[in-house]
């Protein structure tokens, strides 16, 4: 029993252990230098990531409340990877910060919550994971303790998330009322598309939609992204969103199958709204973080198109896209985070003439943005192609047309950034940035990932084989 427990919960235990190590470090009397601390933590995260690729467990625990398999492990690896990259990228920011261990403790707690959420097979377990992944995040948003905007962001985050989890819980309670079970397997058997269940499904979707910032549950996103420290913003937009999308895929595809028709229509509407609204808002943005917030909302719209496919291609395209999204978005956030940490500049106007002073960083940002826009040969192209491809498999081409046209709109604002960096003149450009090797490596990995993941078909084929 114990060995099984240790084996199956390997990923979660690794995180827990790191959290504890950090707690002890914090409690230990000797103050470590921030640089050393960061390097140490990063090594731990690398080990954590590497461990995920060996001895992949399959099985379940706690009377089916927790289950794991190759796919879930892969998803957790993605999240581990994203966390590692963010950690590397925020090196410049954190090395001057007083509360490094706390940052990681909170961060890893949320990661732990996500892992549980992914592995959950029960609404209670799911709820616990969800809250564990949300509440520390709100605290993280406030991590620039003396910034007005940071507090405001944190406040908006906690209020909105509390509200949304209230609604989600209300939905779960109704679902419980109508089916009498919290277990996913039994739930599937009990669902029968009656009005109460549809109502609770709507509430559930709203709860999920809040976390992935789908329209109209997205309004917190931009403000929180803008106010939070860049590291947290990128974590929010990539890891946290990715985790919940993983959950959505497994829950919607495996549990809500009896009400597939209903959720298809809902997701359809939400997807259209999300793409359009996300794009329209992104058009006007000046702050890079806020801009990426809206762009990520639009991206979610595209992901939801893939979700509507209700086929193996659909789920694999969503998971595959998240991998690419991690690369692309973190590439972009990497640059923004470095620039913001060193110069404090965050608006698009500051980025004018960026290419003159920082050609390499510009290319990293450009490649990431092109990938987000879905330009070949970058990975984003493949990601988006497969999402819409899967969506088209369902046969509803109106959605595909809307999505394809939205891709054009999204291209406009990505190109606006490109234009600012490459073409516009600026009398007071961002000076030459000398960042540490850690962020550089992180960005290198992202760019490498963007360049390779699409051309080499291995990743997608692997994911597809897992889902079959």
């Amino acid at each position: 029993m114990l060995t099984e427990f240790l084996y199956l919960m390997k990923a979660e235990l690794m995180i827990t252990i790191i959290i504890f190590i950090l707690l002890f470090l914090k409690l230990g009397s000797k103050e470590m230098k921030a640089e050393n601390m960061l390097n140490f933590i990063n090594v731990l995260l690398v080990i954590n990531l590497a461990a995920g690729f060996f001895n992949i467990p399959t099985g379940n625990l706690f009377g089916d409340m927790f289950r794991t398999n190759e796919l879930f492990t892969l998803e957790k690896n993605f999240l581990n990877f994203g966390t590692l990259i963010i950690s590397l990228q925020s090196y410049d920011w954190l090395k001057n910060h007083k509360h490094v261990p706390e940052f990681y403790i909170l961060l890893l707690s949320t990661l732990l919550g996500m892992f549980f959420m992914i592995s959950s097979s029960n609404l209670l377990m799911f709820y616990l994971g969800l809250e564990l992944s949300t509440i520390p995040l709100a605290a993280l948003c406030n991590f620039d303790l003396h910034q007005r905007r940071s507090s405001e962001a944190a406040f908006k985050m906690i209020m909105s998330s509390a509200f949304s989890s209230g609604l989600l819980l209300f939905g779960i309670s109704l679902l419980y009322g109508s089916t009498g079970t919290l277990d996913f397997h039994e739930l599937t058997l009990q669902l029968n598309d009656n009005s109460l269940q549809i109502f609770s499904l709507i509430l559930l979707i709203a709860g999920f939609g809040f976390k992935i910032s789908a329209v109209p549950f997205h309004l917190w996103t931009a403000d929180v992204y803008e106010g939070s420290p860049v590291a947290v913003t990128s974590y929010l937009s990539v890891v946290s969103k990715g985790a919940i999308l993983f959950v959505i895929v497994s829950v919607f595809y495996n549990v809500f199958t009896p009400v597939a028709n209903s959720w298809y229509n809902m997701i359809f509407l939400i997807s259209v709204a999300t793409m359009i609204i996300g794009n329209l808002f992104a058009l006007r943005q000046q702050n890079m973080k806020r801009f990426l917030a809206f762009s990520s909302i639009a991206q979610v719209g595209f992901i939801l198109v893939g979700l509507t496919a209700q086929s193996t291609e659909g789920s694999s395209s969503v998971i595959y896209f998240i991998l690419i999204y991690i690369f692309s978005n973190l590439g972009a956030f990497g640059v923004i985070s470095v620039v913001s940490a060193i110069t404090g500049k965050e608006t698009m106007d500051d980025y004018r003439g960026f290419y003159k002073t920082n050609p390499l960083l510009t290319w990293v940002l450009a490649i990431s943005l092109f990938s987000l826009a879905g330009i070949p040969p970058l990975a984003g192209f493949f990601g988006k192609f497969f999402l819409l491809f899967a969506g088209a498999g369902k046969g509803n081409y109106s959605l595909i047309v809307i999505a394809a046209l939205n891709m054009v709109v999204s291209l406009y604002y990505y190109l606006k950034v490109i234009k600012a960096m490459f073409m516009d003149a600026n009398e007071n450009p961002i000076e030459k940035i000398h960042s540490h090797w850690q962020p550089k490596i992180a960005m290198g990995i992202c760019v490498g990932g963007i360049l390779i993941t699409g051309i080499a078909s291995g990743a997608y084929n692997y994911i597809h084989s897992l889902l079959k």
């Binding site: 709507i202 109209p216 549950f217 309004l219 931009a222 209903s262 229509n265 406009y412």
Partner: protein
């Protein structure tokens, strides 16, 4: 007789010269280019003459007719199994006659230019263009395929363009070259469509097959094309008329003639070659080439007749009032080509009725001599007088005797005074008209008189009239300029005695050559009257001419302004095409089509601004929208959907 060994060299040699001079003429072969050009053309001319000798005398008639030989032929571009552009060389009486004319006149002009163009900065380029033109013109007359003729048709057009615009820094030359090309291009549009109709109806583009299929009354192609009609006119008429439009454009027939007078902006030898002797008769040649088909379609032949007659008369009238000597010659060219055209129009098929065809070709042949001679003389005159205007000339006979004599010969020829070349050909034409259509005959007759008048007006104004002194006179010209005048002068005097109708006739059988002396009395009288009037008005300096023009008043003015045809064209192009088509098109494109595209972008941006209030920054309203979203979903899925 095997021609293929050398016949292709006739056009290809000038081509080679064009390429050589075009690539290296500007820098490396500057002085040599004239020699190269002349040499090459000399070979071509000799070959042409040899070919003509071979064709008419060695090969001769086969079964009583001159045969149509295809000396060279290879497929250039295959469209459909039955439709292909072939590059070939066709030999029949008219093409053989034409290569002789073209290469001979071209040789003369080449030689003349050695002196005339000496010292030009772009001497090499000039010769390369001349070679290009000669190549194209030879290609045109030898074409065995209707599309091939179109190809060379365009090529002569462009050579003409390049040569008219040779003095490219003169805006007037640039404008004239553009006008020439565009007007003929417009006509070529008709030609092209005509070709499309003919080619597809006959299921071939090859001249031989085409003519055969469209003249054989049993052939299904002819039945189809004659029975199909569009806007009440049979397709055959459409096709032939359109082809004729192409010919009319090149040959400066009314109303497409406006480019020809302006084309005189080019160097004078060029005018002699292109705009008098060779290119402008391409239209006549084209109609003659398709004459068997025209012959069976009376309607289109009527068009040819009337356009020719009107052009002949109109141009002659205008020529009387022009003061620029080259323009006078240009209008006279137009008038003479009008002769050739209506002569074809009134022609029948065989025997006496087919005299029009023979006459037309004969006139083409003689016209080439006397008109190029006139132009070359005019060139010499302009060289001396440094002006194109008659009023700057007078009494030049003392300074340039050779020019004077040759010019006189040419004037007599064009006026139709026996025994010069023009008399014979004109006589045949008028006789044909008399036989076929008396109205045309009268027009021709009057025109002939007017022709004599204005030519002698020109002659007297240049060489007699007032006695001008020339201060910086350096002699009449180089030998290279005089030689062509002499040769052409002799030619003009003698070529009329060639028994032309033996060789060239519509039915290819040949006609006995005979003079209708009694018939000739009337035309010759008209010519002499014309000459006499000119003599009385212009031989001595006087104000009689001025008085006469004052008396005529408005008639004179409108004639002087060429009946305002240029102005009408200008109005149509500038005002209507530019302002009513071009400008609106550009405007629509910028503002409506592009405006729509920009409008979409603008609207998107505007919407984006309009809805920004949703993101109010207040967390409570966020929650409200959140809740609102749920309400909407509930409404849709629990009430509307079910």
């Amino acid at each position: 007789m095997n021609y293929s060994s050398y016949i292709a060299l006739i056009p290809l040699l000038p081509l080679a010269s064009f390429i050589l001079l075009g690539l290296f003429g500007r820098k490396y072969l500057k002085e040599l280019s004239g020699i190269i050009g002349c040499t090459v053309l000399l070979i071509s001319t000799v070959l042409s003459l040899y070919a003509a000798y071979n064709y008419f005398f060695i090969g001769g008639k086969v079964n009583g007719v001159y045969p149509t030989l295809t000396a060279v032929k290879y497929t250039w571009l295959q469209f459909l199994p039955s439709l292909a552009i072939d590059m070939g060389i066709i030999l029949d009486p008219i093409s053989v006659m034409m290569i002789v004319v073209v290469s001979f006149v071209s040789l003369m002009v080449h030689i003349y230019s050695l002196g005339y163009m000496k010292g030009e900065e772009r001497f090499g380029t000039y010769y390369s263009f001349l070679s290009l033109f000669t190549f194209s013109m030879l290609g045109l007359v030898l074409a065995s395929n209707i599309f091939q003729i179109y190809i060379f048709w365009e090529l002569v057009g462009i050579s003409s363009y390049l040569l008219i615009g040779f003095y490219y820094d003169r805006p007037s030359a640039v404008a004239a070259s553009k006008k020439a090309f565009v007007v003929t291009r417009f006509a070529d549009l008709g030609f092209l469509i005509g070709i499309l109709i003919l080619g597809f109806q006959a299921q071939t583009l090859d001249f031989n097959t085409l003519i055969q299929r469209l003249t054989d009354t049993q052939s299904p192609q002819l039945l189809a094309i004659a029975s199909t009609s569009f806007l009440g006119v049979s397709l055959l008429t459409w096709a032939l008329t359109l082809v004729f439009v192409g010919g009319a454009g090149k040959s400066a027939m009314f109303p497409l003639h406006i480019w020809l007078p302006d084309a005189m902006e080019g160097p004078t030898p060029v005018s002699a070659l292109i705009h008098a002797a060779t290119m402008v008769v391409a239209g006549v040649y084209l109609v003659a080439r398709l004459f068997p088909v025209f012959h069976i379609n009376g309607a289109s032949l009527h068009v040819v007749t009337w356009v020719g007659a009107i052009s002949a008369f109109l141009a002659a009238v205008i020529a009387c009032t022009q003061t620029d000597i080259k323009r006078v010659l240009a209008y006279s060219t137009m008038s003479q080509i009008g002769y050739m055209m209506f002569s074809l129009g009134v022609s029948g098929w065989g025997g006496e009725t087919g005299l029009g065809y023979t006459g037309s070709m004969f006139h083409l042949f003689t016209h080439a001599f006397f008109k190029s001679l006139l132009f070359l003389c005019a060139g010499a005159v302009i060289h001396i007088a440094r002006s194109n205007e008659m009023k700057d000339m007078g009494g030049l006979r003392r300074f340039m005797p050779i020019t004077h004599i040759t010019f006189l010969i040419a004037c007599l020829a064009i006026a139709g005074v026996p025994p010069f070349a023009g008399f014979f050909s004109k006589e045949e034409i008028l006789f044909a008209a008399w036989q076929n259509n008396q109205v045309i005959y009268v027009i021709g007759l009057v025109t002939s008189g007017i022709t004599a008048f204005y030519m002698f007006r020109l002659y007297f104004s240049i060489f007699w009239n007032k006695e001008k002194e020339l201060y910086d006179f350096h002699g009449e010209g180089t030998f290279s300029m005089k030689l062509p005048l002499i040769i052409l002068g002799i030619g003009t005097a003698l070529v009329g005695f060639i028994p032309f109708s033996n060789f060239i006739s519509a039915d290819r059988k040949g006609l006995p050559s005979e003079l209708h002396l009694t018939f000739s009395i009337v035309p010759v009288t008209f010519a002499i009257i014309g000459i006499f009037i000119a003599y009385s008005l212009y031989f001595k300096q006087s104000d009689r001419a001025q008085k006469l023009s004052d008396t005529l008043g408005g008639l004179y003015r409108s004639t002087y302004r060429k009946f305002y045809i240029d102005e009408i064209y200008l109005f149509v192009t500038r005002k209507i095409i530019f302002n009513l088509v071009g400008r609106p098109a550009a405007w629509i494109d910028r503002n409506i089509v592009d405006g729509t595209m920009n409008g979409i972008a603008w609207t998107t941006g505007k919407i984006s601004v309009l809805i920004k209030g949703v993101q109010s920054g207040r967390v409570q309203s966020y929650a409200l929208y959140f809740f609102g979203g749920i309400v909407v979903l509930v409404l849709i899925f629990l009430y509307l959907w079910k």
